[in-house]
Amino acid sequence: MPELKFTEAQEMLRKAVREFVEKEVLPIAHRIDVDNECPVDVFKKMGTLGFAGVFVPQEYGGAGMGLTERAIILEEISRHAAGFAMILMTHHLGVEAILAYGTEEQKRKYLPDLASGRKIGGLAVTEPSGGSDVGGQQTSAEFKDGRWVLNGRKCFITNSSSADVTVVTARTGEDAKGRPAFGAFILEAGTPGFAPGREENKFGLRGSGTGDLLLNDCEVGEEALLGAPGNGAKLALATIAKVGRTGMSAISVGILRGCLEEGVKFAKERILYGKPIAKLQAIQLEIAQNRVDYEAARLLTYQAIGLKESGANCDAEIAAAKYFSTEAAVRSAKRTIDLMGGYGVMNDYPVGRYLRDAMATIPSGGTSHVMQLVIAGQTLA
């Protein structure tokens, strides 16, 4: 097994993103959390630099890079502002669905605006009746007189009120065996009958809006259908695995680095008994554990993404990376707060936010239970 080594261009990318994040995102990271508002101008700036279309081929206006580069971007943003990274991470879900399943015409129509960040994307699958249970979706799409009519309610949808283009799954009927069949549709904001509903108030990953999407006799033409009519569930699951789970994993690596660095900084600054607490062995053990969690998450994440990019079947590896990294981020954030004593609980320090963000990464893209089921399923097969 060779060492995890990034190319010169990837290292340059990391350095460039870090510089951007330290100048543009870090100074507003706290405010994004407190106000729970997406700094749209910064998102647009990231768009002009290619972040929004990192893995989109250049012919569609993207940067022509891959998922590893995307993970580097998400990790670097999440080092300081995981909530903000969540917006980009979800935008990529919509982008990937269109890129992987769209017709040439759909790709030409949507990708240039999405890849440049002029438009924001999203993917809406979860419903009150079905998150983990994808088959439990109730939203329906009926084909009438050459048009699709959609009805239902999606919930917990990131970018629900800010997305310009959302890929929405809906039940289109039943397959030959009588199981529900789903289709995926590209819906543009402002389409009659399609509107954001209530906005959730999350305790973590704030800044990224999460809420309902309401479909009331929303009528769209055939050209809105993405992929084959019965292919919606597969499209959603594949997109969530490839882009969603790897993305949440990368976000968690960023949070883990934040915990490690903030912990180290505090341990060196805080003086007790006349010397920095970093000299106390108990504190050193915490730092060591933070380091190991970070390193392990990083390896699992980039390894799984590398496998995916090589075309391997690696749902279990991706699930393992997501499961481990998100859980490790929670552990590490709590550990860092403990290490800081009373200071850890104060909002003057960002670590409390890291804990809240880390908690919120767990359900996003599939819960830890579900990740373990994927891993076990593949292991036992």
Partner: protein
């Protein structure tokens, strides 16, 4: 033939009829060098270029110099590298001084290397020390890496030996009783119209208000850790109470909290040596510390116990700068009241 004397020239700078303070500082050091190296029998000359600057020539002659080379011409009204370098090159090639010193001002940082290139000789930049060794060689001490490193520089095989000196490095010299000889040069043989490729359109200089940093006994310096323009106001109040001046680091300047560029301290700004320097929310980067290291007492307030600034301090406080400054203001006002009533 008479033994050759060691000739040190100081190229002085004047702007709109006023001498730049650094010129007098450098001149002072040149005089001190010659006096210290008495065995070498040296002499100090200054070179003054300008338009109708006779009074400055007079003034300069009183600083213990042997000669004032004075070149007066309308084309020399404002410093301009082509014209000034052309005149200096011809003078230097004719008189062959051994050592040529400049103030490292905006203009000096351009003129000195221009002339060094024309003369194919060495130039030491921003010297913090100048000495003459037993061989009569100039030993120039120069900073690099923002002042973290100092190096000695020699110019052994080409002449003249050239050096530039940052403002505030040396102290000014007093005027003397004796007067140097004023040598008025004929500009028409030293400057030709073809020499000049650039035309000066405008020179704008403003007089900063308030007590200049370099004259203040107390400097209250603020850094990025002050956090806001509002907090910055506390530093200004504190300086006012102490009759001092407020200085800043580059990030604080960039944030727009400060009175302007002229209050920045460090390698790209001012060098200060107040009786007391109080730094607030300053990390102590080499580029900043280079400008304060000769201060009397150095105090820093930084909430990071490991900030490099603490190591450069006589006293340090590990706490929130705003809090400490507020407490200090209160304490000073309280003691003043007590003094008044008591």
């Amino acid at each position: 033939m008479a033994e050759k004397r060691l000739a040190i020239w100081v190229v002085v700078e004047q702007n709109q009829g006023k001498l730049a303070p650094v010129s007098i500082e450098v001149l002072g050091q040149a005089v001190r060098l010659v006096e210290a190296a008495s065995a070498l029998s040296g002499e100090v000359a200054v070179v003054l270029l300008g338009d109708q600057v006779e009074d400055l020539a007079e003034e300069l002659s009183a600083y213990g110099v042997d000669q004032v080379y004075w070149v007066d011409d309308p084309r020399l009204k404002h410093y301009q590298n082509d014209s000034y370098a052309a005149v200096l090159q011809r003078l230097v090639e004719r008189e062959k001084p051994d050592i040529l010193l400049f103030g490292a001002t905006g203009a000096g940082e351009e003129l000195a290397p221009t002339l060094a290139a024309r003369l194919s000789t060495g130039l030491a930049a921003h010297c913090t020390g100048l000495d003459i060794n037993a061989d009569g060689q100039l030993v120039m001490k120069v900073p690099a890496f923002g002042g973290r490193v100092l190096g000695e520089i020699f110019c052994p095989s080409t002449s003249p030996q050239m050096a530039s000196i940052k403002p505030g490095t040396f102290t000014v010299t007093e005027r003397r009783v004796g007067r140097g000889e004023i040598v008025r040069e004929d500009a028409s043989s030293l400057l030709f119209d073809e020499d000049i490729r650039l035309e000066i359109m405008d020179v704008v200089q403003f007089e900063p208000s308030g007590l200049p940093l370099e004259k203040a006994d107390v400097v209250i310096a603020g850094g990025y850790g002050m956090g806001s323009k509002k907090n910055w106001g506390l530093l200004e109040q504190l300086a006012a109470e102490l009759q001092g001046a407020v200085g800043c680091t580059r990030p604080a300047l960039d944030e727009g909290w400060t009175a302007g560029e002229h209050t920045m301290i460090g390698t790209s700004g001012k060098t200060v040596r107040p009786k007391v320097y109080l730094g607030c929310g300053i990390s102590g980067a080499a580029h900043h510390v280079a400008g304060i290291k000769d201060s009397g007492v150095i105090i820093n307030v930084n909430r990071d116990a490991l900030a490099p600034a603490h190591a450069y301090s006589d006293y340090c406080v590990t706490d929130d700068a705003k809090k400490v400054v507020e407490a200090l203001l209160e304490e000073i006002r309280r003691t003043k009241n007590e003094d008044d009533s008591g």
